[in-house]
């Protein structure tokens, strides 16, 4: 970082106006979230009307059985999704990276599609498929949908890691008589494991966070946490939703900070979340 290329002696872009704009916009990004946290301690039964400090919405949240059921559903879906999409995505990334073949460009481009097409189209087309194939709408269909959109993200992350990995090591392994299985576990895997874990983390986060695609592919009795939050927003807003948001915000932040700390410790590539 200390190369002359990156020094900014003339202070380009560091004027007062830009300074003010930047911090104002950062406030714009963060104040709504801070307000939610403050309002989670609101005594009033209206989510947006201040009525004094109270912890009662946290107590109500702890007793909310349907909320915890939705948390359990979310974790089930996210767990299966993480394992399946990480395996499928890693296979695709290795296949695309290692081999040169005619359809390589086409197959690579297909992977980008689930990332860029409107979520609503993806969710509804899956709904059509599930109904047509008589797959009942529930946690299984939601999990299938999550795996479908997570694979592409895993491939992107693992592929990025593979590109900075010296492939000649694998050839050396093959020359010395290692089987493809041995080459993968002894050479490839240790070198790209940080990418695989980052991909898995991304798949987990996307799954826990997904609303729209779950909304279209779920059925009765299979509410996930974002779906529960949506129902709380649409039907009967109480400060309980602020309390749920606060707990969710704090737990995600802690988990992601811990995970990024451990992953960054394992690789010197810099910040996981910037790579993604």
């Amino acid at each position: 970082m200390a190369t002359s290329r990156n020094t900014n002696d003339l202070k380009f872009g560091q004027g007062k106006t830009l300074f003010v704009i930047t911090y104002l916009v950062l406030l714009f990004l963060h104040i709504p979230i801070l307000i939610l946290i403050i309002y989670s301690f609101n005594e009033s039964k209206f989510a947006s009307h201040w009525g004094g400090w109270s912890l009662k919405w946290y107590l109500k949240m702890i007793d909310d059985y349907s909320l915890w059921l939705s948390v359990r559903n979310t974790l089930k879906v996210a767990f299966v999704n993480t394992i399946a999409s990480t395996i499928l995505g890693t296979l695709a990334a290795i296949g695309l990276h290692k081999f040169n073949f005619k359809l390589k460009n086409l197959l690579t481009n297909i992977l980008y599609l689930p990332i860029i097409i409107p979520e609503i189209v993806m969710g509804l087309s899956l709904l059509i498929l599930f109904v047509l194939l008589n797959i009942s709408l529930g946690l299984v269909s939601v999990t299938i949908a999550h795996i479908t959109f997570s694979i592409s993200f895993v491939v992107l992350v693992v592929l990025a890691r593979l590109q900075s990995f010296d492939g000649t090591l694998e050839e050396a392994g093959a020359d010395l008589g290692a089987t493809p299985w041995q080459i993968f576990w002894k050479i490839t895997y240790p070198n790209i494991s940080s990418g695989i874990y980052a991909g898995a983390l991304l798949a987990f986060t996307l799954s826990v966070d997904d609303f729209l695609i779950s909304f279209f592919t779920t059925g009765p009795g299979s509410t996930t946490l974002p779906l529960k939050i949506y129902a709380m927003i649409k039907f009967g807003i109480t400060p309980e939703i602020n309390a749920v948001s606060t707990v969710l915000l704090i737990s995600t932040t802690i988990i992601l900070l811990l995970v990024s700390y451990f992953i960054n410790k394992g690789s010197k590539d810099g910040n996981l979340f910037l790579d993604v």
């Binding site: 003339l10 930047t22 947006s48 297909i110």
Partner: protein
């Protein structure tokens, strides 16, 4: 030998993507040319009526509005995103990583919750109205929610980081000594920006535009939570056709038109990127 290896390793993931990604889109395409059957079903009789109906002023208006909302929010995010990206990219390494962290941090909150927070702020009993009533500036609450303003605000709020991050990336890739060279040769800061910085970071700008425009265009959540019926977007109508009206062929046709607009935007983006390299 090699061919067999790659087909083996690629078979599972691509089989999955074919069955659960490509196939559903193909079925949706077939549906969009089919007739609506009784009880929300589909009759496989070829018809163009779903596409013709999409251009009925009632629905076409929604396409125009979605396009307009997406355009406005892209423009706003670009106008505020670029200066911020510029400031962040030129900051010292330590401050830069903190600022980037602060731009990414909101992503860690669920999108629904982030959008909902504006209900708490702008609602009739919300913070802004409470404050204005308390100060006596207004005597009855303002309707700040459920209109075009709140939808565009929500769109900008939801997608702003998607604009800032690619521009930071392209500014970081730019050779900063060019700025010094330009200054040495007598160009002022505006000229340097206009002639050097902006052209060299167009790739980031275009990437940001695509990342912001596409999710804005197909939005469901923002207009659903922050908008009224008069500010609904195409995503709300498509959802309505599928869930409430149960006219799946019509909903499919509108989805395909949405896909068409998105594909045009993406092909333009790809052509632009290839021209650069």
């Amino acid at each position: 030998m090699k061919i067999r290896q790659h087909t083996k390793i690629l078979f599972l993931p691509y089989f999955w993507l074919f069955v659960f990604f490509i196939l559903p889109l193909l079925i949706m395409l077939v549906y969009s040319f089919s007739e609506r059957g009784s009880y929300g079903g589909v009759r496989y009789v070829f018809t163009l009526s779903n596409y013709i109906n999409s251009f009925d002023p009632l629905y076409f208006k929604l396409f125009i509005r979605s396009f307009w909302f997406a355009f406005i929010s892209t423009l706003i995010t670009l106008l505020i995103g670029y200066p911020i990206a510029y400031f962040i990219s030129t900051s010292s390494t330590k401050i830069k990583s903190i600022l980037i962290f602060l731009v990414i941090l909101p992503f860690w909150t669920n999108f629904l919750i982030r959008i909902f927070s504006w209900v708490v702020i702008l609602g009739r009993n919300g913070i802004v109205n409470d404050f204005l009533l308390w100060t006596g500036i207004i005597s009855s609450p303002l309707d700040l929610l459920y209109n075009d303003f709140s939808v565009i605000l929500g769109l900008v709020y939801g997608v702003l980081p998607y604009m800032i991050l690619p521009i930071i990336a392209s500014l970081d890739r730019m050779d900063k000594t060019l700025l010094e060279a330009s200054t040495d040769l007598g160009a002022n800061r505006f000229k340097t920006f206009y002639k050097i910085t902006l052209p060299l970071t167009m790739q980031g700008v275009v990437t940001g535009i695509v990342f912001v425009f596409i999710p804005s265009l197909g939005q469901f959540v923002v207009p659903d939570i922050l908008g009224g019926t008069s500010s609904y977007m195409i995503g709300n109508t498509i959802t309505n056709q599928f869930i409430t009206v149960r006219n799946w062929p019509f909903g499919s046709a509108m989805s395909m038109l949405l896909m068409l607009i998105v594909s045009i935007a993406i092909s333009y983006y790809i052509r632009y990127s290839e021209k650069k390299y």
